[in-house]
Symmetry: C2
Subunit: 657 residues, 2 copies
């Protein structure tokens, strides 16, 4: 397809841009669904980037040292796919299947589905913040391996910049001086409901400057040359990330141009015909000029020739250790790494689960080439600070501790960005505030990223801080996320088992929910059993009067209550259930061996009942919590809601009698 | 208690401030839990406000035209409670019970629990954004009723300003020119994990100016006079909200002052003794000078004398209509207002639930004195724009349509603020993006505010936009929120019934989840039955082979499938379940009449299975969705996941055979 004799200087690049525009609106017309406004308005922006700056390999979308591109304005998928057609990653057939079931050109970009898509986007602001994570990753890798040196680009719109997550991420990016992050802001003053004037009057330039960014303005968004010049300037920034505000016209050339009507609905036939006429083209859907395709590819080949090959050669010359390390990032299959993990049980036989977690993380992270993470201003309470790993900053990009500040949402998306770069990242906050990063957790689940979330202060046993800080419904929420693994270990043994289970998988996110309180290390718990989700911790040879299931801190009270009932002659089995979903996924034989049919079962967890409904068929056997907690000493709070040993004993006794 | 002969000019106000500080640290010491840093650092800020600016009635914390105060830095509860002791709303006994179970002085401020607390706070950023809602409400009320004219004040810290929600809310407040919103920013450069330098370098002044705010700086945060002067200046702002950056020292006078160590743990005995020594006081816990209390109250009485009385007199002179309207805001019990509600079924017998919702809202809101709401740049798709109600702005504060922009999270908190002012507010976005406002939904549930959430695009039937826009686990998440009501109507009749059920309650939030698609208006659905949560829509006199439960759009496919199976001789009942929680709350007799024991039951909903586990005991009878959706025409998407009529018929037939 590539014709090397093309005179690059003679290419009429605006014609290529128009071809991209036409493909985009044809796709939307064919799908009868999509967003033509950004296709027509922002095509020159994407073109300037892909034709003149973005480093990639037209033969290998996975070239590791490629510049990353995140279409944060994910509704611009048609524009991106049209561009990826020009690159050669997609076919006209793919474009024709835009937004159709089981195609590789879905409604919003999805990583892993479409070659050349670096990140799933759609929910506004997520892409912007995820790119900050990619840029952090790049900065860290660049320092470690001299073969890494790429940029991270974002295309975003007004919607992205209205979302709080973009402010959070921008504030952190400015503080961390991520100079290789370049955001192209498609500024058209139009949002879905009309003019942005009515709702969004930030002085964007001043705002980004106040957050430590370099800001460049491009007045004519239809000029790829001016946009390209701005990108050149942005790449030269040494201390600051750059925002390039490109003043564009939404729906350029449409009869609806400059209005919100062109944002999210297909154009009518007449409009499409007129648009193509303005470009000197006949309205034949999906017609492309082969010459324009060849010219575009010639530009790319000239600019990106052998980049990948040179990179791989450089990698091959690296030291064996470095090469092995870098390969973790380049190759998903190589990512399991629990071998360096060492943890010894504390001598005093009592330890807060978050302290055990601290020891596990400290032993693993410092030695792992691909773990990196942080906390949302909660290193202290979460105990996720890695002592010997240093703090990530411009001055120390080798540091592994990321001080996210009180920015849970950006933390979630940045964690996704690190994951997309090949890291096995972790992040942490209070379980109650996992709500703040919920949209980013969903993206992690959707992209099946192997992130680790350390959520401490996992129940009403938070105590004094009261109901705003006491999670109740959060574990259910996490358990309901597809592909998302949730562990709630009861003690140090189960914390270790949970981490082992998490590390044994190389995809899908997992949360570990930890009590803040000091808890005895039980004789009956077993790290090795955690992976099954649920197992027997106290049994009885006689005919069972019943089985009590529990998790986390409440397991301790359950054991005490049941042990006392045992002295009174009752035959009760206790099952620890650190991971309900994993237990439900076991085979029937195992499940039956733990929870035999015909025996009464009670679940005890100071959290939403709905987590347990599939195991406990009668609601009266649920000792759970469907209301908010209260402020007080944690023992008083447990008692108030009936989770103290005495209340549990009475209730279990009543139910099993 | 009040001594009118006090010479106000002779009062040593710094002594009062020190007394507040001492009470705060004594409370934290007694509770052995709390945040002394803000008590010591920000006492002069709160004092300047309460002594010299805030308008309130020391005898009636509910005086309606009081200035509102929101402690966004909710961990400063000890400071606030000490202040409220000085005001006279709390006793020393209350302070001694700080953070203890069932006290009225919980760990973080809770509205409805503590007199003088206007808003529950704790999760950072929520208070800031909620105050923006209060200020919107005030602006609207001030235009409507000339007796309303108060300010809304916020005390916030660095943590609040790092949260994305504060940027969102500030951006909107600037656009709406809420000049009576005054934020006191306790700027001490310290966050939980250390210096803010490492993570937060926004130029705060420039940032707020870029968002259309007036910014005032107070260099000496220990000077209540300078702070007071800044507040006077802020009150004079006519076009812009004001941020007053008060440079303070966290933990002032403690040996740990100026460090993160003083933020969140009680001080040791020695430190407390030394602090009190510096103030010339002996360390006797909870010792107060009665004279200082009297002096403080004399200041307030002098400044706020008869404000409430004058307000009530002015109200009594209002027109009968206005008075009735204003009383809605002043009096919770008067808030039911469905009488103006008129809706006629469309003639063509087919209508998208979101269109029915539009008609209901349009008929109610324009006529209701206390409804107001908006959308997160989604008025178009949500259909929540009220045609004859005008758009809220500085120029038109009577407008009821709030253009929130793409700021779901701030929208959620602002809705809470409107609710706290007495409005019955609503807001809207796609159901999938309800995740973005999740933390604010939780606050609404905790405060039991009667907000209405209109969440459209309620399932995979969103179609082309793909999995990022297709909710799956969101309804379960909403259903898991304590006090939160979730409706998923199947057609126009049930939309009407859902709204009626929502309006019939005056507390607790409710969401109505609506399909985007046009759906037939069924003969078998009944508006009047919705309040029961579930009811029979298709029955069979013969012995039942089974019962199929469903909700929303899927009910249509279920009915079609079952009607066909009926012609083949099967006896199947169909139950519409627009509100599972309400059904579960019915008495046993009703539930048994709908879902008799011993009959097989199947649930059909294109959403998380866990919502249905308490009704369906065997997971194989759940035709639900525990994975993400896909991009494609909605019929293809339904088919891919087995929710088309043919698949349902086959599955139901198999399960009931």
């Amino acid at each position: 397809m590539i014709n090397q004799v093309i005179d690059l200087k003679s290419i009429d690049q605006n014609k290529i841009i128009d071809q991209i525009r036409c493909l985009g609106i044809d796709m939307i017309h064919e799908a009868n669904s999509g967003h033509p406004g950004i296709v027509l308005g922002a095509a020159p922006i994407l073109y300037a980037l892909y034709a003149h700056h973005l480093k990639y390999d037209i033969d290998d979308p996975n070239y590791y040292n490629r510049d990353r591109f995140v279409m944060s304005a994910g509704h611009g998928s048609a524009l991106l796919y049209a561009m990826l057609y020009m690159v050669g990653y997609l076919s006209i057939e793919d474009l024709k299947k835009f937004r159709k079931i089981d195609s590789i050109t879905p409604g919003h970009p999805e990583v892993g589905v479409t070659p050349g898509v670096d990140c799933t986007t759609g929910p506004l602001g997520q892409g912007f913040a995820t790119a900050v994570g990619m840029a952090i990753g790049e900065a860290n890798l660049r320092k470690r391996f001299n073969v890494i040196d790429h940029y991270t680009y974002v295309l975003c719109g007004d919607g992205d910049l209205m979302e709080g997550i973009s402010y959070e991420a921008a504030s952190l990016a400015g503080t961390l001086k991520l100079n290789r992050l370049i955001v192209l802001y498609d500024s058209n003053n139009i949002c879905l409901d009309g003019s942005t004037k009515q709702t969004f009057n930030d002085n964007i330039g001043m705002r980004f400057i106040s957050q430590g960014w370099n800001v460049i303005s491009v007045e004519d968004g239809n000029s790829y040359e001016m946009i390209s010049k701005a990108i050149t300037e942005a790449k030269a920034s040494l201390e600051k990330p750059t925002l390039i505000e490109v003043k564009s016209t939404i729906g350029k050339y449409s009869k609806l141009e400059g209005t919100n009507k062109v944002h999210g609905s297909p154009l009518d036939d007449e409009d499409i015909t007129t648009i193509k006429e303005k470009m000197g083209l006949r309205d034949i859907p999906f017609q492309v000029s082969q010459q324009l395709c060849e010219e575009f590819q010639a530009l790319i080949v000239d600019r990106c020739k052998n980049l990948n090959q040179k990179f791989l050669e450089a990698v091959s010359k690296m030291s064996a250790v470095d090469k092995l390390d870098l390969e973790y990032f380049m190759n998903k299959e190589k990512r399991i790494d629990f071998k360096n993990y060492v943890y010894e049980s504390p001598e005093d036989k009592i330890e807060s689960p978050r302290d055990t977690s601290k020891k596990v993380l400290n032993s693993v992270v410092a030695n792992s080439p691909y773990m990196m993470g942080g906390a949302a201003d909660t290193f202290g309470p979460n105990k996720t600070y890695i002592e010997e790993a240093g703090d990530f900053s411009k001055e120390n990009p080798l540091g592994k501790n990321i001080f996210y500040g009180v920015r849970e949402h950006a933390m979630g998306a940045i964690t996704n960005g690190l994951s997309l770069m090949g890291y096995r990242p972790y992040c942490s906050t209070f379980l109650s505030f996992s709500d703040y990063l919920r949209p980013a957790l969903r993206m992690a689940s959707l992209m099946r990223l192997p992130n680790i979330y350390v959520f401490t202060h996992d129940s009403i046993s938070v105590g004094e801080d009261g109901p705003t800080h006491q999670p109740v419904e959060q574990m259910l929420g996490l358990r309901s996320l597809p592909h998302f693994d949730v562990f709630r270990p009861a003690d140090a043994n189960e914390v270790i088992g949970s981490y082992k289970s998490i590390f044994a998988k190389t995809e899908d996110p997992a949360a570990i929910c930890l009590s803040r309180n000091k808890l005895p290390i039980l004789d009956c718990t077993k790290a090795s059993e955690v992976e099954k989700g649920g197992y027997i911790v106290l049994d009885n040879k006689n005919k069972l009067d019943g089985i009590v299931l529990s998790s986390g801190e409440e397991l301790h009270m359950v054991l005490e209550a049941v042990n006392h009932l045992k002295t009174l002659g009752m035959n009760i089995r206790v099952v620890s259930m650190p991971n309900i979903k994993r237990f439900l996924a076991q085979d029937d034989e195992y499940k039956e061996s733990i929870l035999p049919v015909g025996v009464k079962k009670i679940a005890v967890e100071a959290a939403s009942s709905m987590s347990w409904n599939s195991l406990i068929y009668n609601d009266k056997y649920l000792i759970t919590l469907d209301t908010f907690g209260a402020s007080g000493n944690y023992k008083d709070v447990y008692q108030k809601y009936g989770f103290d040993v005495e209340s549990l004993e009475r209730k279990i006794d009543e139910l099993l009698k």
